[in-house]
């Protein structure tokens, strides 16, 4: 099968079956039966995914080119009008710029803090205990986290009380209602929630690394930082990339936390595209416009995923 750009098949007993020899009638019958069995085995998954996920994606894209709303019918194609409306809509701009902050922060903060903690805690005496502390928030539902953190930032909540007690009362703030602080405040809650998971995933990646290169470098007298920078980090890069992709997409589509903490909607200071999409669709009935925002979010997710795949290949080729 050399030379033919075949689909990347898994290494398999198929190696023998793929030799271009004439098949007997019996072998052909086995293959037909195998194909049929394979389809049957995949049928439940295929049906679930295509009916409830893939068909909706197509439908959503179609809706985004119509003028469909609670007040107007579906049968009117308007081209890119919904996307143009998004660009000119101040709520969209506010949501988009907050979402950009979310993307950057959820890319940088959990991964950076998680990586620092993973490297620091590894092999430490209290590793298990500290790991559990950082992982605990992950177990609490995001809705509950939003409810709890709402009071952390409330006017007479945790942060303001501490500020007053240390004599810095003049810095007290309505954290969730100021444009400059609402999104950062929510991101801190998000970081609190996710960093533990990122840390655990990176620790799993670290544990899987081969020991020899690190020991060799230690023997050669390399410093801790040099070892981390030139040996550990490059080998850990594939895991870092996977974790980064997961946390970016989870970050910029975060709904529950922002919804619960930003109770008095519409509150443009904490608006994100995910919230804007929900509100426009399910509270205002602007189906087509909501669908267009969803398409834009899907586009961003697709770009992030593609970037990850490309970077992953580059990193892996550099390791080999």
């Amino acid at each position: 099968m050399s030379g033919i750009p075949a689909l990347p098949a898994l290494p398999h007993r198929g190696a023998a079956a793929r030799r271009p020899v004439r098949l007997t009638a019996e072998e052909r019958a086995v293959r037909r039966r195998d194909y049929f069995s394979a389809i049957l085995f995949m049928a439940p998954a295929l049906l679930l995914v295509s009916i409830f996920l893939l068909a909706p994606v197509v439908y959503n894209i179609l809706i985004s080119f119509t003028g469909w709303s609670h007040f107007k019918g579906f049968n009117r194609f308007v081209g890119l009008a919904n996307y143009r409306h998004a660009i000119n809509n101040p709520d969209f701009s506010a949501a988009a710029s907050n979402t950009v902050v979310w993307v950057i922060a959820s890319l940088v903060l959990p991964v950076l803090i998680g990586l620092g903690l993973a490297v620091l805690l590894r092999g430490l005496k209290g590793e298990e205990f500290l790991k559990t502390i950082f992982f605990l928030p992950r177990l609490v539902a995001p809705t509950a986290i939003g409810a709890i953190w709402y009071y952390v930032y409330a006017d007479n909540g945790v942060v303001n009380t501490i500020l007053k007690q240390v004599g810095a009362g003049r810095f007290a703030e309505s954290w969730l209602y100021q444009a400059s602080t609402a999104t950062p405040a929510m991101i801190i809650a998000y970081v609190w929630q996710t960093t533990g998971l990122v840390m655990v995933l990176l620790l799993l990646g670290l544990a899987a690394l081969p020991h020899d290169p690190i020991e060799a470098a230690t023997v050669e007298g390399a410093s801790r930082w040099q070892i981390f920078r030139h040996i550990v980090l490059p080998m850990l890069m594939p895991t870092v990339l996977v974790v980064t992709t997961i946390s970016i997409i989870a970050g910029f589509t975060t709904f529950d936390l922002v919804w619960v903490m930003g109770r008095d909607y519409p509150n443009p200071s904490s608006l994100t595209l995910a919230i804007h999409q929900y509100w426009e669709s399910f509270r205002s009935g602007h189906w087509a416009y909501g669908a267009a925002i969803a398409v834009l979010l899907g586009g961003i997710a697709l770009i992030v995923t593609l970037l990850q795949v490309i970077l992953q290949q580059r990193v892996e080729s550099r390791i080999r």
Binding site: Y35, L54, N60, N156, G157
Partner: protein, 278 residues
């Protein structure tokens, strides 16, 4: 990497400080559920509760006002059936993708896996409108099917990788003896996959239990809504007036998944390690 030094000690102190900060919200939640509304509103948020005597009353009130029992029962159903069905469907698909030779396997796999690429927002309007048309809106079946579908693609990826690594001698021999694919799947492959199956079930169960947005979009009535939806509605109405009850309800709604994690920690960790190495 065992070089000790002042920089390391400095970093450790940083990590310890961070750990203490990490616990503040937990301390806040635990101390708040022990205060009556009057105690909470008259004191400072981080003050110690005078006694534990308010706790039972808080639990009772939060439970009743949130209609938590109904929500938990619904979420239990969504979680067990949704995650169970999804993992089974994924295992069956993974068997075909990893153990049967047939044309265009990668393409078939990509069709299923495509379900992980999109953010949830892109499903909401079509599901809502489709459900409205076919009478699935505000039904338990409708929400359950959406959860089940969302939980299929990722386990398919993980189980395909896992099943690809099970030695082939076993089922080759079984095939020689004339065993059907179904028998091989049930008696050889599934028993050899119990670890990942349990781990994936737990991950998906937790996700369904914690989900808010699908329940908000597809169910609006008390009878069908999930526990997080019930909590969200309660928080929306009473966050200003009875903070202690809102916090109590939040803790109650989170306890089941925390308990499951603590009991089945090993499987959770396995599930996490599967998700990085997938």
């Amino acid at each position: 990497m065992s070089v000790a030094g002042s920089s390391r000690r400095f970093a450790l102190a940083g990590a310890a400080t961070l750990a203490v900060l990490w616990l503040v919200p937990f301390y806040y939640a635990v101390s708040t559920i022990c205060k009556s509304t009057a105690q909470y509103l008259s004191g400072t948020p981080l003050s110690l509760p005078p006694s534990l005597s308010s706790l039972p009353g808080n639990i009772e009130a939060a439970w009743a006002q949130t209609q938590m029992g109904q929500g938990m029962l619904n979420s239990l159903g969504y979680g067990v059936l949704g995650a169970g069905g999804a993992v089974l469907a994924a295992a069956s698909a993974a068997y075909a993708l990893a153990r049967i030779v047939f044309p265009a396997r990668t393409t078939w796999f990509m069709v299923i896996f495509a379900g992980t690429v999109f953010p949830f927002q892109i499903y909401l309007i079509p599901l809502f409108q489709g459900y409205a048309r076919f009478g699935l809106l505000n039904t338990r079946l409708g929400l359950l099917m959406a959860y089940m579908a969302i939980c299929v693609p990722f386990p398919t990826l993980v189980l395909r990788n896992h099943m690809g690594q099970i030695p082939r001698d076993l089922d080759e021999a079984a095939r020689m003896d004339g065993c059907s694919h179904f028998r091989i799947f049930r008696s050889i492959i599934l028993p050899n996959s119990t670890g990942p199956l349990i781990a994936l079930f737990l991950l998906q169960f937790t996700w369904i239990w914690n989900d808010l947005i699908f329940s908000m979009v597809l169910t609006t009535e008390t009878a069908q809504r999930s526990v997080m939806n019930a909590l969200m509605v309660f928080q929306g109405n009473y966050a200003g007036t009875t903070p202690n009850l809102v916090i109590t309800a939040s803790v109650l709604a989170s306890l089941p998944t925390v308990a499951v994690f603590l009991l089945l920690r090993r499987y959770f960790m396995q599930g996490l390690s599967l998700s990085v190495h997938a």
